[in-house]
């Protein structure tokens, strides 16, 4: 562990290790998505607090800004933000269930072939991700077909 050779374990791969450090499973890519959407959401939120403070500059400033947000490029950005929030929230619920130990079944003897908690959760993972996909598709309807 103390060698200077970059591995996923001592985190010397740094940011590169987020994407690839050998064969990654489905959940590992969800982790990447969770991380990227989390960073996107917090970046958006910080800008959002500053941007909505524009209301203090009066009606014109506010309406100008909202007019800008009603334009197509911003509608698409808003939709991406919505999609990121839905993915992050639902995947976050999955993480909570895993971390708090829900639906993992009773502990049993580790007999080959081993079943990891991740594997036992996988059907649930697929259901949650399908639900996220559905909400994201439905969420576009009110934006693109008013």
């Amino acid at each position: 562990m103390n060698s200077n050779k970059p591995t996923a374990y001592n985190n010397r791969l740094g940011i590169k290790g987020w994407v690839y450090a050998g064969k990654y499973t489905f959940e590992r890519y969800l982790y990447l998505g969770h991380r990227l959407t989390g960073m996107g959401l917090i970046a958006y939120m910080l800008l959002h607090i500053i941007e909505t403070a524009n209301r203090m500059r009066g009606v014109e400033a506010w309406e100008g800004l909202m007019g800008l947000f009603a334009s197509w490029p911003f509608k698409i950005i808003e939709y991406l933000l919505f999609a990121a929030a839905v993915f992050h929230a639902l995947n976050g619920v999955r993480l909570l269930m895993t971390e708090l130990g829900f639906f993992l079944g009773k502990p049993k003897e580790p007999v080959y072939p081993y079943s990891s908690s991740i594997k036992r959760h996988r059907p649930l993972t697929y259901i949650i991700m399908a639900l996220a996909g559905l909400i994201i598709i439905l969420g576009g309807s009110s934006l693109f077909f008013p």
């Binding site: 985190n11 607090i49 203090m56 506010w62």
Partner: protein, 122 residues
């Protein structure tokens, strides 16, 4: 112990975010579906002020502000602190994130208060 407590809060505020951000999206993004008004209408100056003048909105916005900022910034701190860095640099990262969080929280609260105490027509 301290780190465990900070992490627990990261998870404990999640229910607040789910409910309030869900409601926020319903008002802002799904206005045509839930309120029968256009997105533009939901976001115009008068509607925004009218919304902000209720005590419930004041409390809920400040709550969302606090919960989402804490959750998001704690997450960001984790991401940055995971990268190889010296303890001194780690301290600088922590202090900067706390400073940023407190500043944005104070500013957001002030803006929400400004809306709450806005005098229509005056």
């Amino acid at each position: 112990m301290r780190e465990t407590r900070l992490w627990s809060w990261h998870l404990l505020v999640i229910p607040i975010i789910i409910v309030l951000l869900g409601a926020h999206f319903a008002v802002m993004h799904y206005a045509p579906v839930f309120y029968g008004v256009s997105v533009e209408e939901a976001r115009n100056f008068e509607t925004m002020i009218e919304r902000g003048k209720s005590v419930a909105q004041l409390v809920l916005y400040v709550l969302l502000l606090a919960a989402a900022l804490y959750h998001g910034l704690y997450g960001l701190r984790g991401i940055i602190r995971e990268l190889p860095m010296s303890p001194a640099l780690g301290k600088i990262v922590d202090t900067s994130i706390i400073g940023l969080g407190l500043f944005i929280f104070a500013f957001g609260t002030y803006v929400t208060w400004w809306t709450f105490s806005f005098k229509i027509g005056g």
